[in-house]
Symmetry: D2
Subunit: 271 residues, 4 copies
C-alpha cells in the first residue's frame, strides 16, 4: 500500500492483523520484506504496521532534496494520522531505532511502548567514519559487501554458518550492483549526520526495552548502556555472543523479546 507523504512522496506500508498497533522501523539495509517470515508470530496478538522509509525498499526515492531523520519522523507521523492510529508501540532496530527515539520525543502522546534494538543515541564521530567506510565502498558490489556485511554479524555466527553466509552473499552482491540501491544508500547514510538525542533522553516517558548484543560492532554495547542510564522507564537486556543482526542470529529470541514486552502491562509493583 502507498501513502502519499505531503501529497506527493509515495511511502510503502503494510498493515497486518488486528489488536494493539505495533509499528516496525527497519534498519538501514532492511525493508518491509525482511519481516515477512515473522508476520505469523508478530500478528498473533498485535496489529503490525510495516513501513519502508522514504528512499528505502519500495518507497519513493528522494532525489530532489537533502534530508535528515526528520523526514522519517514527519512522514511516519502523517502516515499514522492517515491510518487513524492515535497511539502505537514502536519497534526500531539500528537506524530504525534512532527514528523511533526521535518520534517518541516529538510525539510522546502517540507513543505507547518503545522497543530499541541495537540502537544508539547519536551519530558519533566513530559511527560517522564507519558510515563513510560503507559509503566509500559503494559502487563495487563485492567491496561494499565486504565493508558493510561481515561486521554486522558476530564473528562466531559468521564462522558457524559459512554456507548460509555465502549463499546470502551472492544475493546481496546482486542487490549492491543496482545504481538505485547505491544512490539511496548514500543518502540514507548521510541522513544520520547530526543525529544526537543524547541530552534529551530524560524526556522519554514510554516504557522502553533496550536490547544490546555482545559483539555488536555497529552500535556497540556502551551505546545501549547510555540509553538505559538516561531513559527512566527502561529495561536493558544483553545477548551474549550475538551480533548486530539479531534478525538472522536469534530470530526466535528477537520475536520473543518483542512480544513479551508488548504484551506485558507494566505495573509499579509494591512487592
Amino acid at each position: 500500500m502507498y501513502f502519499a507523504y505531503q501529497g506527493k512522496r509515495k511511502m510503502n506500508y503494510e498493515v497486518h492483523g488486528e489488536g494493539k498497533p505495533l509499528v516496525i522501523l527497519n534498519g538501514l539495509m532492511m525493508s518491509t520484506k525482511s519481516w515477512e517470515p515473522f508476520l505469523e508470530e508478530l500478528t498473533r496478538y498485535n496489529q503490525v504496521i510495516l513501513v519502508d522509509f522514504l528512499d528505502q525498499g519500495q518507497s519513493e526515492r528522494i532525489t530532489d532534496i537533502e534530508y535528515s531523520h526528520d523526514i522519517h519522523v514527519d512522514s511516519l507521523h502523517d502516515l499514522l494520522q492517515f491510518l487513524e492510529l492515535e497511539k502505537v508501540s514502536i519497534f526500531g532496530v539500528s537506524y530504525g531505532g534512532e527514528v523511533a527515539l526521535q518520534f517518541a520525543l516529538r510525539y510522546p502522546n502517540m507513543t505507547d511502548k518503545l522497543l530499541l534494538f541495537n540502537t544508539a543515541a547519536k551519530t558519533s564521530y566513530w559511527f560517522t567514519e564507519l558510515g563513510n567506510s560503507w559509503a566509500s565502498a559503494l559502487g563495487d558490489p563485492l567491496r561494499y559487501y565486504l565493508a558493510a556485511i561481515p561486521s554486522v554479524y558476530s564473528p562466531k555466527f559468521f564462522d558457524e554458518h559459512e554456507e548460509w553466509v555465502e549463499a546470502h552473499k551472492e544475493k546481496l552482491v546482486e542487490v549492491f550492483v543496482d545504481p538505485m540501491f547505491i544512490d539511496s544508500m548514500k543518502r540514507l547514510i548521510n541522513s544520520s549526520q547530526g543525529y544526537d538525542v543524547s541530552n534529551r533522553l530524560g524526556d522519554i516517558t514510554a516504557p522502553t526495552l533496550i536490547v544490546a548484543s555482545e559483539y555488536d560492532h555497529v552500535t556497540p554495547y556502551y551505546e545501549q548502556k547510555y540509553l538505559h542510564k538516561h531513559i527512566k522507564n527502561s529495561e536493558l537486556v544483553y545477548l551474549p555472543d550475538s551480533g548486530h543482526a539479531l534478525l538472522f542470529e536469534h530470530p526466535n529470541l528477537m520475536i520473543s523479546l518483542m512480544l513479551g514486552f508488548l504484551l506485558t502491562e507494566h505495573h509499579d509493583y509494591k512487592l
Copy 2:
C-alpha cells in the same frame, strides 16, 4: 486447593485462568503467594498452575523421610495427571529451575517449553557450602536473614532500596523465627545434595529460555552459560546489574521475558 500425593501428602496448588498451561516452580524461600501480584499479567494468555513444593508454603511438611528433588518431580507429575494436563510449559527459578530440569528429563513428552531463571545444572561443592552457611545460621532469625538474604540481591539494588529492604527485613525476620519454617528450610536445603544433571542436558529437547543475572551470587553466570552450551534448543539472556531475585529487582522484565517466550511459537526460519 490440595492434591494428595500418594494419597496422603497434601500439596497446595492453584489453577488460574485459561489457555496453554504454565506451571510455576518456586525458588527455595518462595511460595504460591509470591506470584499473586503477577497473576493478572501471567493469566492474560495462559493458564497458570502455582504449586508449593512439599515442605514449602502451604503444602504438607515431610518429617518422616529424607528426600531429594525426586519427590518434587514425582509429585508434580502426579498432580499434572490428576489435573489431566498432558503437556505443560514449566517455569522454574533457582531451586524450582532444578526441579524443572529434572522433570523435563524424566517426562520429555509432558514438557512443552522450559524457562530456567537463575538456575544451575548441579549442586556444586561451592553451592553445598553456601547451603551449609544458610543451614548453620538457622535458629537465630536475624543471623539467618544476614546469611541468606543480602546475597540474593544485586548490591546496587540493595543500596538503592534501603528503605524497602529494611521493611522487608522486618517481615522476613518474623518468618525466620518460626520453628516450622526452620525445619522445612533445613530439609529443603538438604534435598539439593547430589543434584547433578550436567551430563544429561543433551537430552533436553524442549525449547528452553535461560536467564542469567550479572550479580547472581547464588547461581553464578557460568552455570547458565553451561546450561546454554549443552541444551541444544536454548536461548540465553543476560541481565546486567541485576541479582538472583529478579522477582523483586525487575518484575516487569521478568514477566515480559516469560510471556514472550511462552507466546512465541519457535520456527526453524530459513532466512
Copy 3:
C-alpha cells in the same frame, strides 16, 4: 619488628629488600604472614614494607577505644615517618585498599603509586549487611567459616580445588575458635562503618591501578568501575572467572600486575 604508635600501641611491620619502597596493606583476614611466599618476587626490584594493622596479625589489640580506618591511616603515616620514607607506593587489597585510598587522600605527597585490588570507595548499606553477616556468625568457628570464606572465592575455583579448600578449612576453623581473633574481627569489621570517599576520588593524583574480578562477591565489579571513572590517572584491569581472593586464585598474575605497574614509569605519550 615493632613500631610504637603514639608511643604505646605496638604495630608489627617488616622491611624486606632494597629499592623504591612498596607498602602492602592487608585484607581483613590477612596478615604479614600472607605475603611470605611472595617476598622473593616482590623484593627483586623493590623494598617491601609489610604491616599488620593495629588489631590484626601480630600488632597490638585495640580494646580501649572504638576506632575507624583513621587509626590505620595515622599509624601508617607515623610508621613511614619513623622509617624515614618520604614517598611510597601503596598496594592494598579490599580493607587494605580502602585504607590506601584514605592515605592517598590525606598524604598525597607521600603517595607514589596506588594499587587497589578488589577495593570499594565506600562501605555501602549492602556491604554493611555483609559485614553484619560475618560478625553475627562469629563465635561458632564453622559457622563463621561458612559465612565468610566460600564467598571470598570464585565458585569455579572453589569447586576445582575441593581438596585444597578442605585442608585450608581445617586450618581456618582452628583460627576462628580463638577468642582474640573473634574480638579483633568484630572491631575491624566495625571500623569500616562510615567509610566513604566516593565524592573525593577526583583529588587522587597518584597513578592508580584498579584490579577487579568477575566473581568478586565482596567488592563487586561496579565498585571498581566507579573508582576507575572517578580517579583521573587510573587504569582498570578485569580478571574473568576469578574471585575476591586473587592471592590464592591467581598468585602469579597478581604479582605480575603489581610488579608491572610499579616498575613502569608512566609517560604522557604523544603517539
Copy 4:
C-alpha cells in the same frame, strides 16, 4: 641493522639494552618504529629485539614467492641463532601474536615466556572476509583508511580523541598512497590464509599471558577465551572499554602488563 635470511632476504632488526631478551613482533600495520617511544621503559630490565617481518617496515619486500606465516617463523629463528640467543620471551600483537604462537610450537626450547596481546588461534572465515575488506579497499588511500583504521580502535576512544585521530589520519593516508605499502599489505594479509593452531595449543608449555580487549573488533574476545582455555599455563587479562590498538589507547598499561609478566618468575605456590 640487517640480517640476511637465507643469505639473501634482508630483515631489519634492532637490539636495545641488556638483560633477558624480549623479542617484539609487530601487528600488521606496525613496524620497529612503533616501539621507539617505549624503548626507555622496555629496556630498563630487558634486552629488547625489535624486528620488521619480511615485507614489513624496513625489511625487504618479498615479490618472488607467495608465503605464509612460516617464512616469519623461519626467519625469526635464523635471526635468533645469528644473534646467539638461545631462549627468548616473545611478545606479539595480533599478526605478531600469531607468528609468536607458531614459533612457540615449533621451537618450544627457545621460547621462554609468551605474551599474546589481541591474538587469535586461527584465521577464521570471518577474519578472512575482514582481511578481504581491507585488501579490496587498497588502492584508494582514504577508502583503505576507512576500511581498516576506525575498527582498530574502541568507538569510545575514537570519539574522545577526534583531534588526535584526525591528525593521525592525515599521516596514515600519506602512507596508504604508497604502491610499495599497498603491495606489501596485500601479501601480508594473504599470508594469514590457512593459519590455524587451534588444535595444537595444548602443546604450548611456556608461561603465557593473554590480553583481550572488550571492543576488539579485529580479534574478538572469544578468540582469547579460546587461547586461555587451551593453553595450560596461561593467564587471561581483560581490558574493559578498550579496543584492538592498546598501543594507542592504553600505552602505560600495555607496558605495565608486559614488564610485569616478564619480570615475574612463575612459581607453583602451595598456599
